[in-house]
Symmetry: none
Subunit: 405 residues, 2 copies
């Protein structure tokens, strides 16, 4: 039995507020020249003081050796077993672009792309067109593409740069289709192929749609085609409220994280802006309406992806400077952790566990005095799956009853 289903049964209508601060990809590896990780190099008096008054440990987010994508990483932190739940990126992108996705909608990620005269893909991202161009093209597609043969409707929404979302809504649709994105250049896009009988109709509608989009974009340059990948039907998950009695609020800038939050029934603060604005948005929304606050910091991950060790250090230091805005809110339980590691020396996500610190009156303060990978690993919480976080914060906030007599 998945331990999170046990928490569901033990949740009661009491207890304090919880804040989860997720520093995306903050776990790192030592830079060979400095012999220290991004967290160790950064000057972080506030994070260190936080750890000093916390229970510390490390989370192995999905499992040993498993490098989490952002979706599974966050699902785990929110108490949803990422090995049981499979959310496509299309669904997440749609949810995150503030699109009002409905159950059974088929959502798909879109890249605007460049194809040559023979229809072969030349650039899978159309030179990373700017977001304004993207908006213009999406509107053009919405205005000009008529799907008379289809008894439903479609939506085509900008995400950012070359990225968009395509949604089909109607009867008898299914998401088991192969991608049209060939993931390479020099070949034409693939036709959408149904993976099962239930998806035949969907494949046909997508094919019609692509033909018409091709006509509409024919004169455009460089974005004269679209590539689709990650078709998926939207089957909503049980919400944080239904499962754990938590009225949740998400403060995040990026579609992905807003998407996961919306998928779990959290309210999402309208795009708050930069990091400082996000900490301020948390403050101004802190109050009686929510029990659970999720504050997401993206750039610790982005700088890691860019192999920018010093940039990641700077993001960490900026978070450190803002931390008092969060810790002085007086929440019963505050957890600081990450959804996965993104060591700058690797330039990508990794499987390495991430540091964890939980502050609460009922926390066993363990003498760890630095918020970094090595110090926290010595903490009293030990090494645990990412899924454990939700149970721990619920318990520390007094939100779980006793199990059995």
């Amino acid at each position: 039995m998945d331990i999170s289903t046990v928490w569901e049964k033990l949740v009661w209508n009491r207890g304090g507020k919880i804040i989860d601060l997720v520093l995306d990809g903050v776990g790192g590896l030592p830079d060979p020249d400095r012999g220290a990780t991004e967290l160790q190099v950064a000057e972080t008096p506030n994070l260190d003081r936080f750890a000093e008054n916390a229970s510390c440990g490390q989370l192995e987010i999905v499992g040993p050796g498993i490098t989490p994508g952002s979706g599974p990483g966050h699902l785990a932190l929110f108490g949803y077993d990422p090995l049981q739940q499979d959310i496509g990126r299309g669904v997440l992108s749609a949810l995150g672009s503030d699109f009002d996705l409905q159950p059974n909608d088929i959502a798909t990620r879109v890249n605007f792309a460049t194809v040559d005269e023979e229809g072969r893909v030349v650039d899978r991202r159309a030179g990373r067109i700017d977001t304004d161009t993207n908006r213009r093209l999406c509107k053009k597609i919405r205005d000009r593409v008529q799907l008379e043969e289809f008894d439903g409707t479609f939506f085509f929404q900008t995400v950012s740069e070359h990225r968009a979302v395509f949604v089909l809504r109607g009867q008898g649709l299914d998401g088991e289709l192969t991608d049209t994105d060939p993931q390479t250049t020099g070949t034409p896009p693939n036709p959408p192929q149904p993976r099962n009988e239930a998806s035949r109709k969907t494949a046909k509608v997508v094919q019609w749609f692509l033909e018409k989009v091709g006509e509409v974009l024919a004169e455009e340059h460089p974005a004269n085609a679209v590539l689709l990948r990650g078709f998926q039907r939207y089957d909503p998950l049980p919400s944080l409220r239904d499962r754990f009695g938590l009225r949740g609020l998400c403060v995040a800038d990026y579609p992905m994280y807003r998407g996961v939050s919306r998928l779990l029934g959290m309210d999402v603060v309208p795009r708050p802006g930069g990091m400082k604005e996000r900490f301020e948005a948390l403050r101004s929304n802190y109050g009686d309406d929510y029990d659970f606050y999720f504050l997401h910091v993206k750039h610790s991950d982005s700088r890691g992806e860019d192999e920018n060790f010093d940039g990641k250090v700077k993001v960490i230091e900026a978070v450190d400077g803002l931390l008092p805005h969060l810790t002085d809110l007086g929440a019963d339980t505050v957890a600081i952790t990450a959804d996965h590691s993104t060591p700058a020396v690797l330039g990508g996500h990794s499987w390495h566990p991430v540091p964890l610190a939980i502050q609460a009156k009922s926390a066993r303060v363990d003498g760890v005095s630095r918020f970094d990978e090595y110090a926290c690993a010595q903490g009293i919480l030990g090494t645990r799956p990412g899924l454990h976080l939700m149970g721990l914060v619920l318990a520390h906030a007094g939100r779980l009853q006793k199990f059995g007599a």
Copy 2:
């Protein structure tokens, strides 16, 4: 697969003796004034020497964030997955009151209570009548209540003070009944309602029984009624002997722990008396008849429940003084741990892990030199589920064969 089923297959007819000393609720939290837990404040030269010559770690008894009741806590320590096994308190009370419960008996917890002239509950515990009065009333009920309409028999046994146990034995009974205890005053007891078709007969028998008990107790005061809760059919678990080849002996004063032990097929020393007497009872029963000895100390939990930090410290120190009586028996493997934490500062059970120390010739002694929550957490056994204990003590005692060729 539950790991304990693997141990079952590996157990052989060899190996040494095991003693588990369970200090109920011994895990704590720091007292704000002293900045130290009950175990840290206590003077415990013997426990510390024990840890110094042991492998140490901490057990998260049921799971992250989960506060174990005593039943699940002990089941886990004995190698039974508490998430798979569900034992009602009625069954445990009956087993613990030295009543010879049989498979398929329906057992129920009883409170003697006071009702007013309109039959409304005035006191759910009848002013906590003394145990002698309880005995007299139980005998009166046994002598005077005739259940002619029922083709089986009933038992009605004193536990202590206002608490008793009611058992029905017969054909076609089931335990899926609602409680008659309204859990409040000012309303009459609820009628017993069957939760399924199989329980209809049982509900009828219980209703007859309650009417007759009402007549028998009419002239009594303050105990003029009984409240029933936690109906359950007794489905015995596979025994420690069947599963792990252990002939077990329980030395415990409280019904609950004697109940769990009997449920798992252990012999139970007749009520041994105080703590010193329990250590002596273990000594005098130590020998060829048993492989596994479970010694239970209740008051570390009770003092924690009473928010009595200093009282809990004293219990720990008393255990420490008696510890040599246990360690000089020469058992191959001795484990000291708890079934859950009961921090005095919380005044109740908690989810926090408990310290563990295992002494055995084959143990990796790890340099931990204090038996407390923080020191043991640094030990070589790390942080593990409570269920792991049985596998570890079996292995240390040489009772498990190699897995695979």
